[in-house]
């Protein structure tokens, strides 16, 4: 996901969370459409194809992947964090577990999961019919090996996280103190079908795919065991001839450009309906022409040129709202490396809730979305996307544009207007707010300038850090290191399919870029992931309280989400963007076919 969308860095911990569009993950849509477009013009798209014609047997399908770089070609989920690679391997890289449309893990996939809260274990039972594409069965060893690949420093996997340390013995293995991960046992032996994971603490999020506490893929131990960990990432067994247990297998590859997938004859599920799937990269420059000329059966569409191709005949535009949001964050402290903690500074320039709220109310987000995206982007009211269902706070209003309110808030907080029309801080000193923003598409500059003007209208002097929009590397350099010339910044997150906000906003989270850290925040966040939250209704309440708190304090202002669009030729049948459909689940590719 490096450098995917504007800083929207997609998480792939859940194998499922990849669509054909460059940076989208998925979510259930029907429920979300109604609730998310709080104000902007309502626009909606079908989420799946509707094609009742009989399928052609042995049909072939072509997929275009928009990318301005060659894909890396690391075809192993434990080692890759690249969105393009995930897109290329989606036809074969099936997840261990099946999920429903709200990403909850359910039975019926390659393996079943059973959590035991008392014993603090998760038991994984492999479906005995599952075989790798070389005919070898999926075994307990394969699941264990995936953890070893992630945790062994020699592989240089970037997948190893603090969450995984919840598995007993993981940290010891990672530090080289033991050769086995003590908390992962195989009661029926390595070639058996059962794996038991022992946790230090059980988390309510464990029922959701993408939770990060355990891994949801397997690696073919029999095939990879001879390759030393050090050379695994560069080995041909990963780069050229990877093994998968999903419906299709990689049969031809032009490195970085294109790949052909053919049915995996050992597939345990329904027989794949296509004889061949070809995927190739398409330059962003020619992508609109490719859609107009129906060069590919399935292809991502960028919102910036959707209006140029939307009337193309014979193509259906499917849409889905990804688990994503952009936000405005206010720097109120610094990251303390020694403590490993965010330290909030009560005297920070931006540490005034009324000031922050006023800045948020002064932004005409709806107007901007209407003008620049025709409603494809829309303002969101809270930091929990609506696609998460009941944990989303439906009553949240967010910060709709209201200049009077913004002025009033600033007056109340003692930011007095001077003769030049600009306000001073409560101590009467000159106030200049430094705003860090990333360069993006062609509209970005106009949008940012518009906001600066909006703030000027309420008397706030806002200047761009560095005097202009920043390239992504410079931006993160400043924001991550709490540079003194950043008072507020606009960035974005792509979320994993487990909604807990702890990774992004807790006291110990380095990604909590605002550096907010309040006792109330810590309390609310820990409630969300507490034992009590195994009771779902308790968790729902905890989520709502947190969302209310975040909007009240406005350390982080939720801004936008946008539709993720895919152009699908009308001859395609059985394709859809939901988590249980092909764009979200490798297994569902078995159902995709083409008609005459």
């Amino acid at each position: 996901m490096k450098k995917a969308a504007v800083a929207g860095l997609v998480t792939l911990a859940s194998v499922l969370a990849v669509t054909l569009t460059a940076c989208g993950s998925n979510s259930s849509s029907s429920s979300s459409t109604s609730s998310t477009s709080t104000s902007a013009k309502k626009i909606s798209f079908p989420v799946a194809t509707k094609n009742d014609k009989p399928s052609v047997s042995g049909g072939t399908l072509t997929v275009g992947m928009i990318s301005d770089t060659a894909f890396k070609g690391i075809f192993n989920e434990e080692l890759s964090e690249d969105a393009n690679d995930s897109t290329v391997m989606q036809f074969g890289a099936e997840s261990l577990f099946k999920t429903n449309n709200t990403y909850k893990i359910v039975d019926g996939g390659a393996a079943n999961l059973k959590l035991d809260q008392k014993a603090k274990t998760a038991t994984i039972t492999i479906n005995p019919n599952v075989k790798w594409s070389d005919g070898q069965p999926l075994t307990a060893d394969d699941i264990v090996y995936a953890y070893k690949i992630i945790a062994n420093p020699a592989t240089k996997s970037s997948r190893y996280t603090d969450s995984l340390k919840d598995i007993v013995g993981m940290a010891e293995y990672n530090a080289g103190k033991s050769n086995e991960i003590s908390g992962i046992s195989t009661p029926d032996g390595g070639s058996g079908k059962t794996v038991v994971l022992h946790f230090q603490t059980m988390k309510p999020g464990m029922t959701q795919s993408g939770n990060g506490y355990f891994w949801e893929a397997a690696a073919p131990y029999h095939y990879l065991k001879d390759v030393p960990f050090k050379s695994l990432m560069a080995s041909d067994k990963i780069r050229k001839k990877p093994l998968f247990f999903g419906p299709y297998q990689l049969s031809k590859l032009v490195a970085g450009q294109s790949a052909v997938w053919t049915p995996n004859k050992y597939y345990y599920g329904a027989k794949p309906k296509l004889s061949k799937i070809t995927i190739e990269t398409v330059s962003p420059a020619t992508a609109p022409s490719a859609v107009k000329n129906k060069k590919y059966d399935i292809m991502g569409v960028s919102n910036s040129w959707y209006k140029n191709v939307k009337n193309t005949k014979g193509v259906t535009f499917l849409g889905k709202i990804p688990l994503f949001y952009s936000y405005l964050g206010f720097k109120v402290g610094k990251w303390d490396n020694k403590k490993g903690e965010n330290v909030e500074n009560p005297k920070a320039k931006m540490n005034n809730a009324k000031l922050r709220q006023a800045i948020a109310y002064a932004m005409n987000v709806d107007q901007v979305n209407e003008k620049f995206t025709g409603g494809l982007s829309f303002r969101i009211p809270t930091l929990i996307p609506a696609q998460f269902g009941d944990v989303f706070d439906k009553s949240a209003k967010g910060f709709p544009n209201n200049m009077d309110k913004a002025n009033k808030l600033l007056d109340e907080a003692g930011y007095k207007k001077g003769k030049d029309g600009y306000r001073t801080d409560p101590d009467g000193k000159k106030l200049t707010i430094h705003f860090a923003a990333m360069s993006g598409n062609t509209n970005q500059e106009a949008i940012i300038k518009n906001y600066i003007q909006q703030w000027k209208k309420v008397g706030l002097r806002v200047e761009l850090t560095n005097g202009r929009l920043m390239e992504m590397n410079s931006f993160y350099d400043k924001v991550q290191n709490d540079s003194s010339d950043v008072d507020m910044f606009q960035a974005a997150w792509s979320l994993s399919s487990e909604p807990s906000p702890n990774d992004l906003f807790s006291a110990g989270a380095p990604f909590n870029f605002t550096r907010m850290n309040t006792p109330e925040q810590t309390k609310l966040l820990s409630q969300i992931d507490s034992e009590k939250s195994f009771d779902h209704s308790y968790r729902v309440t905890a989520f709502k309280k947190w969302q209310e708190y975040m909007n009240k304090e406005a350390y982080v202002v939720p801004l936008n989400n946008s539709w993720g669009l895919t152009a699908v030729n009308d001859r395609v049948k059985g394709y859809g963007l939901n988590p249980t459909q092909a764009a979200g689940s490798s297994a569902a590719w078995a159902d995709v076919s083409v008609t005459k």
């Binding site: 020619t286 022409s289 000329n293 590397n473």
Partner: protein, 319 residues
């Protein structure tokens, strides 16, 4: 002459060292590093810090430089941070793609440029000259990427004559099939590069011919009754080719540098694109290896040009 060449080659060594220092310092001065973009809620910063440390990025720049030079002298340019593969093998793959594309486009550029230049010079002031000048005026002032995109939309998508992306079809098999597919993929881009890129050849050649036509030795040849065809081919044309020959050394070494715009729009993985991507992704190992390669090629190209000049024009001696 051999002595001179040897001396020039030896002189290149300090030049290359200075170049490599510059390259390295500049690369390190850019904000961010290969791991800057690796921020997702699910990657832990501790792990990133560890990878960064293992990659030696925490060391002071001179330590990194010495490490790098030491390995580079053994032909080891390290692993690409982004691709996680040896730099040499990545550059090797891209170099082949770029060679295919640039050889064909250079050949086509000369095939189109030389006859046009000759015609324009020989028929100076006629409608032939005017229309060639007009064509050059257009080809110089049209941005390449616009033409590439129009051509792909027309010949690639609408008419379907040419492939629209990549360097080879994934279904190509066999030696003939593979080479055929490669050539099929480069026809359109190289033709466009040639059509848009021959202005300097045409203009140098044209003005050379125009100037040489008035030279004394041409008049002498004519007054001696030498047939016009011989006068033109032997006296005028040969001398007019000099400036083009002077370029040729650089053209040969330039074959490897690639064309960023054409590669980007045709989604053709070549060297130009590799370079840009390595800069934006802070892939230091690829970036530094490429700049060093380009630097060496430029030095070699200049040397080659001088040698060619001395062969073409006996009056020029490079020692």
């Amino acid at each position: 002459m051999w002595k001179t060449i040897l001396r020039r080659v030896i002189l290149m060594i300090p030049q290359i060292i200075v170049l490599s220092l510059f390259v390295f310092i500049l690369a390190k001065m850019m904000p961010g590093d290969p791991f800057t973009g690796l921020i997702t809620p699910q990657t832990s910063p501790a792990q990133i810090a560890r990878l960064r440390k293992e990659a030696g990025l925490d060391n002071p720049w001179y330590v990194q430089y010495v490490d790098w030079i030491g390995r580079a002298l053994h032909g080891d340019f390290g692993m690409s941070y982004q691709m996680q593969r040896p730099v040499t093998s990545i550059i090797g793959e891209r170099a082949i793609n770029t060679l295919y594309l640039s050889i064909l486009s250079v050949v086509l550029t000369y095939l189109i440029g030389i006859p046009l230049g000759v015609a324009a010079g020989r028929y100076e002031g006629t409608w032939i000259d005017t229309s060639i000048q007009f064509y050059n005026f257009i080809s110089m002032s049209t941005p390449g990427f616009v033409v590439y995109m129009l051509a792909i939309a027309l010949f690639g998508f609408a008419l379907g004559w040419f492939p629209t992306s990549g360097s080879i079809s994934v279904n190509a098999s066999g030696v003939i099939g593979t080479i055929g597919s490669r050539i099929y993929h480069i026809i359109l881009p190289s033709l466009l590069i040639a059509i848009l890129g021959n202005a300097s050849i045409v203009q140098y050649l044209r003005s050379g011919i125009v100037d040489n036509k008035l030279e004394d030795y041409v008049k002498t040849a004519r007054s001696k009754g030498v047939p016009e065809r011989v006068v033109f081919n032997r006296h005028i044309l040969r001398n007019s080719l000099l400036p083009i020959a002077a370029f040729f050394g650089n053209v040969i070494t330039g074959l490897l540098s690639g064309s960023v715009f054409a590669e980007t729009i045709f989604a053709y993985p070549g060297m130009g694109k590799l370079f840009i991507d390595s800069v934006s992704g802070r892939d230091y190992s690829i970036m530094t290896a490429l700049i060093l390669l380009y630097g060496i090629l430029t030095l070699l190209g200049n040397l080659l040009s001088d040698i060619i000049m001395s062969i073409v024009d006996p009056r020029i001696r490079i020692d």
